[in-house]
Structures are given as structure tokens and as C-alpha cells.
């Protein structure tokens, strides 16, 4: 390393000057960069912080002093949002639906992916292609027929219907991702299991699934966040029964009614209720969430 530097230096003396100006370049670039980073961090933090503050104010305060600390901690905004605006119901509905749909997606998705990745049988390629093709279609294309399919099955305005549809629409990515993952696992362990008299089913649940844990966690996080954010499907499938609404459609509705009733503090409290848990979860699982969400892009 050092020898090559010594050799190069006399041959190209103009680079000495080049290095000096590069140093001041770096300082300028870093200064501007640091500033830009701070500005962007504030752009992310301020709106959220501002909502938290406003959630404790009353309407007069929101209009007269939008930038100050609230005069009182008005928890009644929260109880109004939780019960009267029903954020509590919507929140729990979302948790219920996403818990089941993610569980179902992971179970069915990993079973399908495992068989498609590790077993040779007639129609395997066609079936794999069928799953992956789902990635190319926009969900919007399906909404009209999907509505009628769910209606005919008697599952309209039910959480069961919503959960099944979430699972079905999460399968393409889950199968695609986990298939690639199962293919990377060594075959020797599976063969040893079969020789030991393990059935195919218990081989999957006892040996292969634990080995696929890192991939499973990534896809599970991806699905939880995706299904939590779903808006179109609940709008179409449970829109008719307000008791079944999930958080995304509930919040959108609350912002409309807050306009009619001029209950802005209630809206801010509702927003806080939907953002704060995400901050906590993100704070704890930050590393896993980042790698889980970007795993799909990196492949």
C-alpha cells in the first residue's frame, strides 16, 4: 500500500494540490450534507410531534396557538377519540385481522413455497408461475369480481372474508420469496430426516421451518406492515358494516366527521393513537423491520 503511494507520488506531483482542494471540498460537502440531514430529520419529526402536542389542546388553542405547548393535558380528547369516534374498535379490529391474516399467510405461504421449492412433481413449474404472476396484477383490476365472489360466499362485511382475502393477496410475494429461501437450504439435513423415519409433514414443521426462520421473519414483517396499511380491500369488503372497519378506513372517516363537527382535538388524539404504537413497535424492532421491508427489494 505505502510503497505504491511512494511510487506514484513523484510521477504525478499535481495530485498533491488535488488532495488539498479535495480536503476543503470534503469539509464543504460534509457541512452542507449535515445540514440537509438535520433538515430532513426535522421534516419527519415535526409533523408527528406537532400532532402529539395538538392532541392535548382544545379547539381554541389549536387555532390561536398552534405552536405552543398545550396549557392542560386534556385526556378527554383521547377518551372521546377512543369511544365516540371508535378508534379503539378500529384499532382492535386491525390487530385481530392482521394477526390472523399474517399467521395464515405464513402458514399457507410457507407450505406452498416449500413444496414448490423442494419437490419435483407434474405441474410444479406452472403452479409456481401462477403464484408469481399475481405480482404483476394491480389489485384494482379485481375489485368488482372480488366483491361478488366474497358476496356469493356470504363473507361480505365479515372479518373472516377480509382475512381470507388478505392471505390470498399476500401469497404471491410470500411464495416467491420463501421459495427462493427454501432452495438455499442444504438437502443433507432433509435426507437425514427421511432416513430417520421422519414423515414429510413432520420434516417440514420440525426441521425445515426452523431452518427457514430468518426468511420467515423478514416476510412476516413485510406482510404485517403491508396488511396493516391495507385500505382498498377493507373499503370494498367490509365498508358496509362500520363495526368491522379497520384502522385505516376508520381514520379516514374520522377526518371527514371531524370536519363536520369541528372536533379537531379529537382527530389529533385519534391520529396519535394510530401513530404512537407504531413508534413503539418500530423502536423495539427497528433493525428487523428495516431488513424485513428491504429484503424484498434486495432479493
Amino acid at each position: 500500500m505505502t510503497t505504491s503511494l511512494k511510487k506514484a507520488a513523484p510521477a504525478r506531483p499535481k495530485h498533491v494540490r488535488g488532495r488539498k482542494s479535495a480536503k476543503s471540498d470534503i469539509r464543504l460537502f460534509n457541512g452542507l450534507g449535515q445540514l440537509a440531514l438535520v433538515v430532513w430529520a426535522l421534516l419527519v419529526i415535526i409533523p408527528i410531534l406537532w400532532v402529539f402536542l395538538a392532541s392535548f389542546k382544545n379547539t381554541t388553542e389549536i387555532f390561536s396557538s398552534p405552536w405552543t405547548i398545550p396549557a392542560d393535558l386534556r385526556w378527554e380528547n383521547y377518551s372521546r377519540a377512543w369511544t365516540k369516534a371508535r378508534v379503539g374498535d378500529y384499532f382492535l379490529n386491525s390487530v385481530w385481522v392482521v394477526a390472523w391474516s399474517t399467521f395464515g399467510t405464513m402458514l399457507l405461504g410457507s407450505m406452498a413455497a416449500y413444496v414448490l421449492a423442494r419437490y419435483e412433481f407434474w405441474g410444479r413449474r406452472a403452479l409456481y408461475f401462477l403464484f408469481v404472476a399475481g405480482l404483476a396484477f394491480p389489485t384494482f383490476l379485481a375489485i368488482v369480481p372480488l366483491f361478488f365472489v366474497v358476496k356469493q360466499l356470504g363473507l361480505l362485511n365479515t372479518h373472516t372474508g377480509l382475512i381470507l382475502v388478505y392471505i390470498a393477496y399476500s401469497l404471491p410475494f410470500t411464495v416467491f420469496f420463501l421459495c427462493a429461501f427454501f432452495r438455499t437450504l442444504p438437502t443433507s439435513v432433509a435426507e437425514a430426516g427421511i432416513i430417520d423415519g421422519c414423515s414429510h409433514t413432520s420434516l417440514f414443521f420440525r426441521v425445515m421451518l426452523p431452518m427457514a426462520k430468518p426468511g420467515m421473519i423478514s416476510v412476516a414483517i413485510f406482510n404485517i406492515i403491508g396488511q396493516w396499511a391495507q385500505y382498498l380491500l377493507p373499503l370494498v369488503l367490509v365498508g358496509g358494516n362500520q363495526d368491522k372497519w379497520v384502522l385505516t378506513q376508520g381514520i379516514a372517516q374520522i377526518s371527514v366527521t371531524a370536519g363536520y363537527e369541528a372536533d379537531w382535538s379529537g382527530l389529533f388524539a385519534a391520529l396519535t393513537i394510530s401513530i404512537l404504537p407504531m413508534i413503539i413497535v418500530y423502536g423495539i424492532f427497528q433493525r428487523q423491520i428495516q431488513s424485513g421491508l428491504t429484503a424484498g427489494a434486495v432479493k
Binding site: R19, A41, L141, A142, P145, F204, S255, M278
Partner: protein
């Protein structure tokens, strides 16, 4: 591995395949058929009309063309702005710091920034849309206008002025997306061998030079993925427009997108037409994905 193989395969595939065919494949296939029918409302059965829905869409529906135009704007601006900002930040966070003998370090506090920037990705779009409704509000209760009016300035009517509404929506989409791509690009930059930067530094390359001549070419594959992802997001944009824009893609259709037109047609029980719009969206998306992959296809750089 032969013992009881087929019962096992069938047993494992039965539930996922059934669910997938019933709720995904079958509706998608039906959508193409329904798009060739006039079908308004629950009471009247669908009636075959051939390509009537498509000629109505292409020749009579101004809103459809406005929607396509807006998706086009999103398709160009959303990836360009997001990728530019994210690349800049990712570069700063990965190799922006002081270097010790060519060993590049991230800028001070890079971990903190990465965590904060990424956070909006975790929030659901409708919640972000409601958040920005309050940020953009046209009176003193809005975050931005509250400041402007305190300073004695006129409020900016973000979502009310037709020429301001779409840029305001794009800003929110960029706000949410940047952090994800910062993390994605950082990962890509992390896999670039250090000695390449070392060599560049020995040759006296400035930081911007290093960025354009070393980082960017080696990040090609990641950039392509980012472009496809953001493009697909640009073709959707339903949740943000539906919640944030006033009057259903308003003011006066100034923010409408194809996905919103589909939902509007569906809401009016105009099922045939909604499906025809869906077919159009499908072909737009497929064309974009195929074009991107074709145009950006080039031999990978070996290192």
C-alpha cells in the same frame, strides 16, 4: 423421499392454491370478461357490449385522460425526486464522514438519521394522508399556515389550488418513501469494496466525483429495483389521493389517478366500466415494467 410423496404434496398445496384461485386468479380472469359488458347496478344482469367500455374510456372520458396524465407525472417525478434525495443521503451516511487512509466512514449520527428517516415507511398511507391534511390545512390550525399567518403572510391553499394540489401530494409520497430508499441504497453502498474508494481518494477524487464515478455505476441494479418499485407506487397512489385530496381527486379532477377513477366507477355501481379501467391500468403497469427492464438492461459490472 418417495414414501407418501403425492398425498403430502397435494395436502400442502390444497389450501393455499384453493384460496389463491378463488380470491385472486378467478377475479382477475373475470375482470377481463366483465370489462366487455355493460353492467350497471345489482338489479340488471351484465350485457355483452364488446369494446364499448373501452371506446367510452378512450374517446369520451376526459377524467380518464387526466388521470393517466397525473399517473404519468407521478411516474416521472416520484422516482426522480425520491431517488435523488435518497442517494444523496445514503452517500452521506455511508461514505460522507472523515476518512482515515481511505477507510470511509459514515457521517456523524448516521445510525440515528437512518432510523428516523425510515419511520414513515411503517405508517399506513391513509394515516399519513390524514396527518398531512392537518399539516396542509388552509387556516391558522394548519402546521404550515399557522406559521405563515403568524408572520402576517397569506395562507397557502395547498389542496385547494388546482396547480398546487398534485405537487403537495407528490411531496407527501416523497416524504414517506425517502427513508426506505436511503436504507436500500446504504445496503447497496455497503457492498461496494472499500479499496475502490481508497483508489479514488489516492487519485485525489473529490466526494462528488467519487459519487458519480464510483458509487453510482456500481449501484445500477439497486437503482433499477428502486425505479420499478416507485413506478408501481406511482400507478397506485389511490389511498393518498382518496384521503388527502378534496372532492374525489379534486379540486375539479386536478389530482385524480386511474386507480381513483376505478374506485369511483365501482362506487357508482358501474361495474363494467370499472373493470375496463382496471384492464387499462393493468396494461399501463405491465408496459411500464417491461419497458423499464428492457431499457435498463445492461451487463452487470464485475467487481
Amino acid at each position: 423421499m418417495r414414501h407418501g410423496k403425492y398425498p403430502f404434496i397435494v395436502g400442502f398445496l390444497f389450501a393455499p392454491v384453493t384460496l389463491y384461485v378463488v380470491f385472486v386468479i378467478w377475479p382477475y380472469l373475470q375482470a377481463f370478461y366483465i370489462s366487455l359488458n355493460a353492467w350497471r347496478g345489482f338489479a340488471v344482469p351484465p350485457r355483452w357490449v364488446g369494446f364499448d367500455n373501452f371506446s367510452r374510456m378512450l374517446f369520451e372520458d376526459d377524467r380518464f385522460w387526466r388521470a393517466v396524465w397525473h399517473n404519468g407525472i407521478l411516474l416521472i417525478t416520484l422516482p426522480l425526486i425520491t431517488i435523488a434525495i435518497a442517494l444523496f443521503f445514503a452517500f452521506l451516511l455511508s461514505v460522507g464522514g472523515k476518512s482515515k487512509g481511505g477507510d470511509m466512514a459514515g457521517i456523524w449520527g448516521s445510525k440515528f438519521y437512518r432510523v428516523v428517516f425510515f419511520f414513515p415507511q411503517v405508517l399506513a398511507v391513509p394515516i399519513i394522508a390524514v396527518l398531512f391534511q392537518t399539516v396542509y390545512r388552509p387556516n391558522e390550525s394548519g402546521l404550515i399556515n399557522g406559521v405563515l399567518m403568524k408572520l402576517g403572510l397569506d395562507p397557502v391553499l395547498f389542496m385547494i389550488k388546482p396547480n398546487l394540489a398534485l405537487p403537495s401530494i407528490i411531496a407527501v409520497l416523497v416524504w414517506q418513501a425517502v427513508g426506505f430508499y436511503v436504507v436500500l441504497f446504504s445496503a447497496g453502498m455497503g457492498s461496494i469494496p472499500k479499496d475502490l474508494y481508497e483508489a479514488a481518494e489516492l487519485d485525489g477524487a473529490s466526494r462528488p466525483r467519487m459519487f458519480f464515478n464510483v458509487t453510482l455505476p456500481l449501484l445500477r441494479d439497486t437503482l433499477q429495483v428502486a425505479w420499478v418499485y416507485l413506478g408501481i407506487a406511482a400507478f397506485d397512489a389511490f389511498a393518498i389521493v382518496n384521503v388527502l385530496a378534496i372532492a374525489d381527486g379534486g379540486p375539479d379532477g386536478a389530482t385524480t389517478v386511474v386507480a381513483l377513477e376505478i374506485y369511483r366507477a365501482y362506487g357508482k355501481n358501474d361495474f363494467g366500466y370499472a373493470s375496463a379501467l382496471g384492464v387499462a391500468l393493468f396494461f399501463l403497469t405491465i408496459t411500464f415494467a417491461a419497458l423499464t427492464l428492457r431499457v435498463t438492461k445492461r451487463e452487470a459490472i464485475e467487481y
